[in-house]
Amino acid sequence: MEVKFDEAALKTANKIISRYPEGKKKSALLPLLHLAQAEFDGWLDVPVMDYIATLLAIKPIEVYEVASFYSMFNLKPVGKCVIEVCHTSSCWLRGAEEIIQHLENKLHIKAGETTADGKFTIKRVECLGSCGTAPMFQVGAQYYENLTTEKVDTIIEDLDKSGKRTTYFDEVSLTAHK
């Protein structure tokens, strides 16, 4: 299957590219990787990265080296909802490990794994800037804060029911993505 943005996504991509000065469109790489991840099942397969390279007229290696550097880009398939739990100091002090434990027990997987039905992935992540509302996790662009195990149960149920893939681009959109 040929990898290609649909018309709306391509329009967004071009609008992003147009922000930068002549000859500097490589600057659009990170935003386009976010867009691509949202458009193509939540992760960046090699053909997807190659497609982005073509759009920006750069070498594929320039895309791979960037995609593998930043922790928000998934280079392997992930569940429909990636639960990114902060485990750094301020969250750790207020019970992040209990939240992770609870998620692991509830979903019967370890952090770093995806449920057999492909619905959920648990990911341990570093400080998300939500220290004053710890513990917390992020699913797509949404922050879930001041978590308790009861709150986690409700959130997981809601996400399970919706069955939607959550991505950073999903809940909110750049102005260009209308």
Partner: protein, 428 residues
Amino acid sequence: MSTKLLLKNDHVANINKLEVYKQHGGYASAEKAIKTMTSDTLVDEVKKSGLRGRGGAGFPTGMKWSFLAKPAGVPRYLVCNADESEPGTFKDRYLMERHPHLLIEGMICSSFALGANTGFIYIRGEYFYIVPILEKAIEEAKAAGYLGNNILGTDYNLELHVQVGGGAYICGEETALLESLEGKRGNPRMKPPFPAVAGLYGCPTVVNNVETIAAVVPIVAMGGDEYAKIGVGKSTGTKLISASGHINKPGVYEIELGKVSVEEFINSEEYCGGVWKGRKLKAVVAGGSSVPILPTNLILQTADGNPRMMSYESLGEGGFISGTMMGSGGFIVMDETVNIAENLYTFNRFYHHESCGQCSPCREGTGWMEKLTHSIISGHGKPSDIDLLWDLQTKIDGKTICPLGEAAAWPVASAVRHFRADFEKLIH
């Protein structure tokens, strides 16, 4: 009551909308700057204000601005560092989410001072939900004539764009940020040249933190001299403190620098509301994960027995032997139940994860420190591991291209220096 400059309208509903922001005096500074001031007079006002970079380094902003090279025919850029990723810090997020126009107005004033016609707000990717808030504010400001071509009928033009990152602490370092903005890995650059000479796309560039840029708005409004009267000594103005950890009221608080003691900040109802669960205070990381952690006696008082105040100088008093730093203002409080070695493990894991890998001392050293601390807290440590940890951090400190090396070394040094007993407790 303390002076509020950045959060003075925090209680106002819909202050994120241009109309409401204007009703409360918004965009008066942009008008004043563009219509009545020149680049040079504006830079002078910021110099006079004594404003220091609010991202962590505390470098005088006016001086940074005055270094900007101005070769004819070469574009200059203002880049706002909204990559806030220092553990314990969430004040830029608060400011952007609730007061987007304050940042946009600050960007307008600052860009005008620098003669920049394009500005970027580089925001960490995890803050994706804030992107539409900022873009909406930019759209409103443009529609009202504060952005775009011929701003307020003058010949000044300015376009602002929001750029999302991809999840990398290192991009908060200004040259790594510029690399990332150019679509590359966030590897810090060798300096010189400094960004003021060769920054974004090789053009003269100033990179300033969100809070620093926002502070330009009240400085333009009241003038640099008046701003400098707020605060104490070289700690002028106000600072946003992100308070977290074992306190009753975590949150973002604006303090007048040098006027609030650490003790008051922790215990007063106006701020943290005391240590939670009626427990005793054990330690504080006063300025984000990188700054030295201090035990209760040293954070509340300096070695000379004076009350420690919330200012650059007072927090720094005693150097690294008995003092710490203001840093980003990420204030993490720990109660008596915390073993500091266990908390240190979360920092060591963080810095290992975030090292860009360019310099061997940082790439290898942060991983080694993480492993050692992990071994200690899992009950597999040897007594000699504590000295090995100390030795390791001395081999990283000052031996890397960018300050991530120091940022990783200092928490280790201070934890071993002040809390050796906590390590020993875990070693059988």
